[in-house]
């Protein structure tokens, strides 16, 4: 039906259009003929078809009556019953874009509802306030860390900002100051002349100029050099000062000797190189000798020498000193300069003679080829120094010597090594042992309190060594100059016995070590064993009586006994009820079972034991005032007699009966003192969570009696420190490194006010509109 209706309307349309078209097309030229008409018709048809499905199909008005107004475009508002929509008017020109925008605008206008009323003043203000408050509180929260720090900090020192006193540079001070007195003027003149800088006296202008002229690296190097030079200078100064201060005569004699030797060497060198100069030197020496001869030095006329001559009768040392003196005199006054060296050596030997050291020690020096500085120093410095000297240093020169010396010397060197090792060990042991005296006889041998035998062994060893070296030594002492020639012989002679004896000697050294160890071991062991024995004795003495009794007692209070027998102490316990029930066999079995189940923990017995101990502890004890050894023989193993003990034993009277005497299930502690309770803290104070914490704080003392001064100072620091007479200003953002807002508050106020007023005006306008 629909289709039929559509067809009808189509037809009608086509007819109508034909009718309509006629007047329209009229003005058109007839040349535009049927083809064109047909096309148009076709289009019309298409349009009609299009309009079929669309909602906005034209309802074409039918003229039912005559009307004066006939629309030109066949558009009438009457009869359609629809509202005219604005956008419909524009439909034919759909394609143009500029109009589409207008349409959009129109749509938007249409979609907007009525404008709302502005918020009332209170609400606006509230919003303002809230925003402002949030802003402010955010701004304030930047202070949180500082506030927290200040609250928790160990110490707060006010005023926070320290006013630093401005230091005026010295130039400013000096420029304002004039030299008045002549002395000052003179000094100023001097300073100005030398261009001495006032502030930095280390670098003169010349230095500065040179520094400027140099590159950076050069300058650095130069400065480093200067620094080094300065350091060296100061070092030498210090050393010279130190050396000057040394009072030891020995040191100075050695120093003199060294100097003399050096001079001699130089002299010899000079002799070779420049004989004329050497002659002059010789003259000088001769002159010195003459002076010496003229003077009465080193004669027997001095005060010291006289005293020594008196002493020489009795004292070997004094005699030796005398001889030494004389030898020195001879040496100084002798005309020959060739033999002086050996003479000196002899003197040295004699010196050493007075120190009754095992000869082997001296041998080390004697055997040395050249003057060994280490050994020399060893001899010259006092015993104290030698003790302090590091034992590690010793082997080095020895090794050095062995490498220098010829093969023949090796055995001797080996002996020395052995000896040195021994010394090392000794010194090590000495270090380890705290209480050890140095033996008056030996310089370097410490006397081990435990090892007398070791020393004796050492002596034996040294004697042996002496014997071996004696032949060599004799020749050495006779003359040095011949030594190189003679050297072979003693070594040849020595070699056989050395080879024979070497293992033995090694053994001895080992033995020595072992001995030492054993000695120490024995020392340790002996007391222990003694102690043990003593203990044993004691136990045998004391135990047999007492523990047996104890055992007896324990047996008495054994649970089995408790359950079976009626012991007097248990009578009033709760146990007797069980005893009564014992008649019943089943219950007995049950008991047995329970007993088996709780075999391990016996509560009753434990409690009883505890109580007994408490009672024992609270009983007043007898005082024994016996002093062993008074009025009778005393000593190890002796005991004061029984009578005496009885005499001096003070028996304390029995105290009042215990409160829990008749209460078998209770232990009442009678020791507790009620008086201190008034001074004790009852409740755990606030910041503490455990009583241990609190107790710990109380138990750590603060006072300087228990703490070092520094710790004390630290412990008593005050939380807030203020300076008297100083104004404390409120904390500032600048003080704590915050940047405060640069704009002033007032300018902001004024600006904001303007904005606000503008805002208000606008609002008012709007509301008025």
């Amino acid at each position: 039906m629909n289709a039929a209706w559509a067809m009808e309307s189509l037809l009608a349309l086509s007819q109508q259009e034909e009718l309509e078209d006629l007047p329209k097309d009229y003005p058109l030229s007839p040349s535009e003929d049927e083809g064109d008409v047909e096309e148009r018709k076709h289009q019309k048809l298409l349009e009609a078809i299009h309009s079929l499905d669309g909602k906005n199909r034209w309802k074409l008005a039918e003229r039912s009556e005559a009307s004066l107004k006939v629309s030109e475009f066949n558009v009438t508002s009457e009869g359609s019953g629809e509202k005219l929509v604005l956008s419909d008017l524009l439909r034919p020109v759909k394609t143009s874009s500029s109009l589409a925008a207008v349409k959009k605008q129109l749509n938007r206008v249409k979609s907007k509802k009525t404008v709302e009323l502005p918020l009332n003043k209170e609400e606006v203000e509230q919003i303002h306030r809230e925003v402002a408050f949030n802003k402010t509180s955010q701004a304030l929260s930047k202070w949180d860390p500082i506030v927290l720090k200040n609250r928790q900090g160990e110490q707060l020192i006010f005023p926070l900002k320290k006013e630093q006193s401005a230091f005026a540079p010295i130039e400013h001070v000096l420029s304002g100051w004039k030299a008045r007195t002549p002395l000052e003027q003179e000094i100023f003149n001097l300073l100005h002349k030398n261009k001495q800088p006032v502030t930095d006296p280390l670098l003169t202008p010349v230095d500065k100029a040179s520094l400027k002229a140099m590159s950076l690296e050069e300058a650095k190097m130069r400065r480093a050099e200067l620094q080094r030079a300065r350091a060296l200078q100061s070092y030498y100064e210090a050393r010279a000062r130190r050396e000057k201060k040394i009072k030891s005569k020995k040191y100075h004699t050695v120093l003199k000797k060294g100097k003399a030797k050096k001079a001699l060497k130089e002299f010899e060198k000079l002799q070779k190189d420049n004989p004329t100069a050497a002659l002059e030197e010789l003259e000088k020496i001769e002159k010195a000798r003459m002076m010496e001869r003229m003077s009465l030095k080193h004669q027997n006329s001095g005060k010291w020498a006289k005293s020594k001559t008196i002493m020489a009768k009795y004292d070997l040392e004094a005699r030796q000193a005398m001889q030494e003196q004389l030898a020195r005199n001879k040496e100084l006054t002798q005309k020959l300069q060739v033999a002086s060296e050996s003479e000196e050596e002899e003197g040295g030997v004699e010196e050493e003679g007075e120190l009754l050291v095992p000869e082997s020690m001296n041998e080390i020096q004697m055997n040395a080829d050249g003057p060994n500085p280490w050994m020399l120093r060893n001899h010259s410095t006092s015993t104290k120094e030698s003790e302090i000297q590091d034992p590690v240093q010793l082997p080095e020169p020895v090794v050095h010597k062995t490498s220098e010396s010829e093969e023949e010397d090796r055995p001797e060197a080996e002996e020395e090594i052995l000896l040195n090792e021994f010394e090392e060990r000794q010194s090590l042991r000495k270090k380890s042992g705290p209480n050890q005296d140095t033996e008056p006889v030996g310089r370097q041998e410490p006397k081990d309190s435990s090892s007398q035998e070791v020393l004796s062994e050492l002596r034996v060893l040294s004697q042996k060594l002496n014997k071996e070296n004696q032949s060599g030594k004799q020749k050495l002492s006779s003359a040095r100059t011949v030594r190189a020639v003679q050297r072979k012989d003693p070594t040849e002679e020595e070699e056989e016995p050395l080879l024979l004896q070497r293992p033995e000697r090694a053994q001895t050294v080992k033995e020595l070590e072992e001995l030492g160890k054993e000695g120490s071991f024995q020392n340790k062991e002996v007391p222990r064993s003694v102690l043990e024995r003593q203990k044993l004795e004691r136990s045998t003495n004391n135990e047999p009586g007492a523990p047996k009794e104890k055992k007896k007692k324990e047996q008495m209070i054994d649970v089995q006994n408790l359950l079976t027998t009626k012991s007097p102490s248990v009578k009033s316990l709760a146990v007797p009820t069980t005893i009564e029930k014992l008649e019943d066999e089943e219950e007995r079995d049950q008991k047995q079972m329970i007993k088996e189940a709780f075999a391990g923990d016996d509560v009753i017995r434990d409690f009883l034991k505890e109580k007994r101990e408490a009672v024992e502890a609270s009983k007043p004890k007898d005082v024994d005032l016996t002093l062993p050894g008074w009025g009778e023989w005393g000593g190890v193993g002796l005991k004061p007699s029984a009578k005496k003990r009885r005499w001096f034993l003070i028996k304390t009277p029995e105290g009042p009966p215990r409160k829990d005497k008749n209460l078998p299930n209770v232990i009442i502690n009678e020791k507790r003192n009620v008086h201190p309770a008034a001074h004790q803290v009852r409740v755990l104070p606030y910041p503490f969570t455990y009583h241990q914490q609190f107790e710990r704080t109380i138990q750590t003392p603060i006072g300087s009696t228990w703490n070092t001064q520094r710790a004390f100072q630290k412990l008593i620091t005050r939380k807030v420190v203020t300076k008297p007479g100083h104004i404390i200003k409120p904390i500032k953002a600048e003080d704590v490194c915050y940047r405060s807002s640069s704009r002033s508050d007032l300018s902001v106020v004024q600006r904001n006010l303007k904005q606000l007023s503008i805002h208000h005006k606008k609002q008012r306008k709007k509301t008025l509109d």
Binding site: F133, L140, I728
Partner: protein, 445 residues
Amino acid sequence: MKVKMLSRNPDNYVRETKLDLQIVPRNYDPTLHPFEVPREYVRALNATKLERVFAKPFLASLDGHRDGVNCLAKHPKSLATVLSGACDGEVRIWNLTKRKCIRTIQAHEGFVRGICTRFCGTSFFTVGDDKTVKQWKMDGPGYGEEEEPLHTILGKTVYTGIDHHWKEAVFATCGQQVDIWDEQRTSPVCSMTWGLDSISSVKFNPIETFLLGSCASDRNIVLYDMRQATPLKKVILDMRTNTICWNPMEAFIFTAANEDYNLYTFDMRALDTPVMVHMDHVSAVLDVDYSPTGKEFVSASFDKSIRIFPLDKSRSREVYHTKRMQHVICVKWTSDSKYIMCGSDEMNIRLWKANASEKLGVLTSREKAANDYNQKLKEKFQHHPQIKRIARHRHLPKSIYSQIQEQRIMKEARRRKEVNRLKHSKPGSVSIVSEKKKHVVAVVK
């Protein structure tokens, strides 16, 4: 022969100067110094007793006013200078070292309601009942000159308080509203209101200087932001707040002196619960001022006493009173944190020590060390009953003492009633409100 002698380094036993202490070598072996705790306890006890013995806080009374002292102000640059305004319109400037009045001005007719100094210390401002704000020079007039204010601003309403900005030439007055003035102008730069009641005091925040706090007689405390020219928040308490004071070390903390005998310390970011309620007074608290260290504050009360509270304690550590001191209207803590001044009804300004037993004057280092040690000992043993008892003991006038007892009874009764109510009502229907929350009625945004 070598003579061996003992040789010691003289540095170890020779004093540098005659005044130095002898060096005494000590052995710190604890076995040689037994009984640490009992000995220190005794020392602490003695220190506490001595502290009480030497507690003489009253220093001086400055008399000269012919009416009650209504307001006090500190000089920002000079510790010795104090300004005071009285109820007869007279302003006096005092020298504390001489304890004398150095200048007298008849500033207003009627009360001098508020007085404040400029941050530079060259001039000061007063407001009075005659609706004027006057600026005065700190130095007195020359010979032959008349005592005249630098500026006079005639207002429309009575001003009840004044405070000066801490950095700029701006001051704030309060009355019907809070006005912010530029010193150069005769009309306020901006005026802020919230509610219609009269505002009794206004204070600038000393750290974040754009913040202001005020308290009005309709029981509220209002905070303002000067830069944004708006109030920020308002908290309403049980009763009227008389004054507030900002903490000079903690920007967001202020303390309010309330009519209900308590002081409330607030964090301005969270006004719904005070950080601490300080209660010990037995009458309205009229004024409060912080110590410049920000650790303590002092409060003046209508009960004729002043009390010192630690910031984090709800009970006071000290109470000062004299027989002749009447209702204390204003109180100030001096800028060196050593002294307290209070002005009271009976026309006197009193000077107190902030630490009652502190020795005045220069201390030797040994005295200082001894003081510090004693202080630490007292702190260490503060929980021990005897020491606590002695340290807490104060003599109080009979009126205050009896009132305290009365208050205690009342409080206990209230608490008991609350507990009973809780006990006899359906679980969950009644809840116990904490002391802190009890006094805050509302927070208005």
